[in-house]
Each structure stands twice: as structure tokens, then as C-alpha cells.
Subunit: 142 residues, 2 copies
């Protein structure tokens, strides 16, 4: 099965009609690890769809988030970024170069919080902030 068909199926699975824009947005989100914002996605897709408006990007993204297809990430920035990965993972933001990295979580439940009895958890967000290898190297090289 080709990639576009898989994207379509994922949309249908979530009760979303697979329109061109929606397919392209999800396809892009699945293809990148950089957690783009709406603006970035808009610029990228505009190359192929010249009539595209940024409102359509927001429409698609909001729909996806509501249906649980993608996740919003807000890490001390003015704008929302979007993450199309299905796998549970954490994020790491470097305050020097502002890059956002994915982090693997070691175990299924390596987060132990109390006070959780009788509470229904729907979603989990974990992010660390610090300085990445490259930027540490840059600093020590000075």
C-alpha cells in the first residue's frame, strides 16, 4: 500500500473525510520530525497548492487535534507546534539553538505520579529544557 493510501486510511479511521488539503497536511506531519507550526506547514504546502489559505491549515490542524490524529506541543514559545508521531515520546528543547528533539521514553510507565487514583488520563506531555550536545561543545570550544 502506498503512503498516500495509508494517510487516507488513517483519516478515515478517525472519521475525517480525506480531502486534498487534509491528506497533504497529515502527509507532511508524518514525514518530518521537526514539529512544524501552522506557518511552516502553510509555506511548504503552498508550493504545490497555490490557492491554499492559512485558514485551511488551521482548520485541518484543529480537526486533527480534536480527533486525536496529531498532538499539539507548546514549549515556552509563542506558537503551537504539531506532532504527527504516534509513538509515545518526550521532547527536549535546546535553549541555545532552539531546536526541538524527540526523546525516547525507556519504559511504558516510567512516570510515577501520586494522586492519580480515580483520575482518567487521556494524554501525557513531557518535555525537558536544556542545552544540546552541539551547543555544549560550542561553548567549551570558545
Amino acid at each position: 500500500m502506498d503512503n498516500t493510501q495509508m494517510i487516507k486510511d488513517e483519516l478515515i479511521k478517525h472519521n475525517i473525510k480525506p480531502s486534498l488539503i487534509r491528506i497533504k497536511v497529515l502527509e507532511y506531519l508524518k514525514s518530518t520530525k521537526e514539529h512544524p507550526n501552522a506557518e511552516k506547514i502553510f509555506k511548504k504546502l503552498s508550493k504545490d497548492i497555490p490557492t491554499l489559505s492559512i485558514t485551511s491549515i488551521y482548520n485541518a490542524l484543529k480537526l486533527f487535534v480534536g480527533k486525536g490524529v496529531i498532538k499539539e506541543i507548546m514549549i515556552q514559545e509563542e506558537e503551537i507546534r504539531y506532532d504527527g508521531a504516534n509513538e509515545r515520546h518526550a521532547h527536549f528543547k535546546c535553549i541555545k539553538c532552539n531546536k526541538l528533539y524527540d526523546l525516547k521514553l525507556k519504559c511504558r510507565s516510567c512516570l510515577e505520579v501520586t494522586d492519580l487514583n480515580k483520575v482518567k488520563i487521556l494524554d501525557e506531555h513531557i518535555y525537558l529544557v536544556g542545552i544540546c550536545k552541539k551547543c555544549i561543545k560550542k561553548e567549551t570550544d570558545l
Copy 2:
């Protein structure tokens, strides 16, 4: 030592001159668990300081965050909330009532992520999203 003096000392410790507004902002943040936003803090302090401007609140908050006195929390909302607690803890947001709860973390390092070698961690943010006890009860009572 009285409470105001402790607030002053904490500011001085972080190289912040303890002006009236700064003292009041930090005092309020330390006194509440509700993680207020700038607007909320402004409304609260305006009662005592009628000449107050919201820009001063933003100035103080930005300064505090920069000096590490408080933390910003952004949990899928349009605005930033602020947290004056020193203790390491996670957050839980109920999507039904929109309340933000503190969660205790069970152990010093109950978050196990890979890919962290050579990376300098400065800050850690963990939040869960779901439905709180009260709202679950409301639903099942219907």
C-alpha cells in the same frame, strides 16, 4: 521572620531589587496553587495598588522567569500561567472543568528517557491531561 521578609530575601537572592510590585507579585504567586495568568494577578493586585499597570505585571513575571524564581506553564491554552512553587511536581489538567491540579512525583528520577547523554538538563515539564474525579463522578451520575 515574617512572610514579606522571606519574599524579599528570595528576590535579593536572585539578584532582583525587591520593589513593591515585585514583592506583591511573588507573594501572591507563593500564596496560591491556582497557577494564575498575568490578567488574574493584575486584577488581584490592582485592588491594593490602584495605579498598577498590566505591563508592570508582565515585566515582573518575565524578570522572575529569567532569573529562575518562577516557572511558566503552558498547557494547551492561549495564555501563559505562572507557578511559584519550588518543589518539583507535575501538573494535571481536567478537560471538563479546565482546572489545573498539582501532582506529586513519586521519586527523584521517575522519568527515564534515553538519548540524554552529554545533554545538560535545566528544566523539566510534565503534565497530564484528562478528566478529574469530580467530573467523572458528574458524568456517571447522569
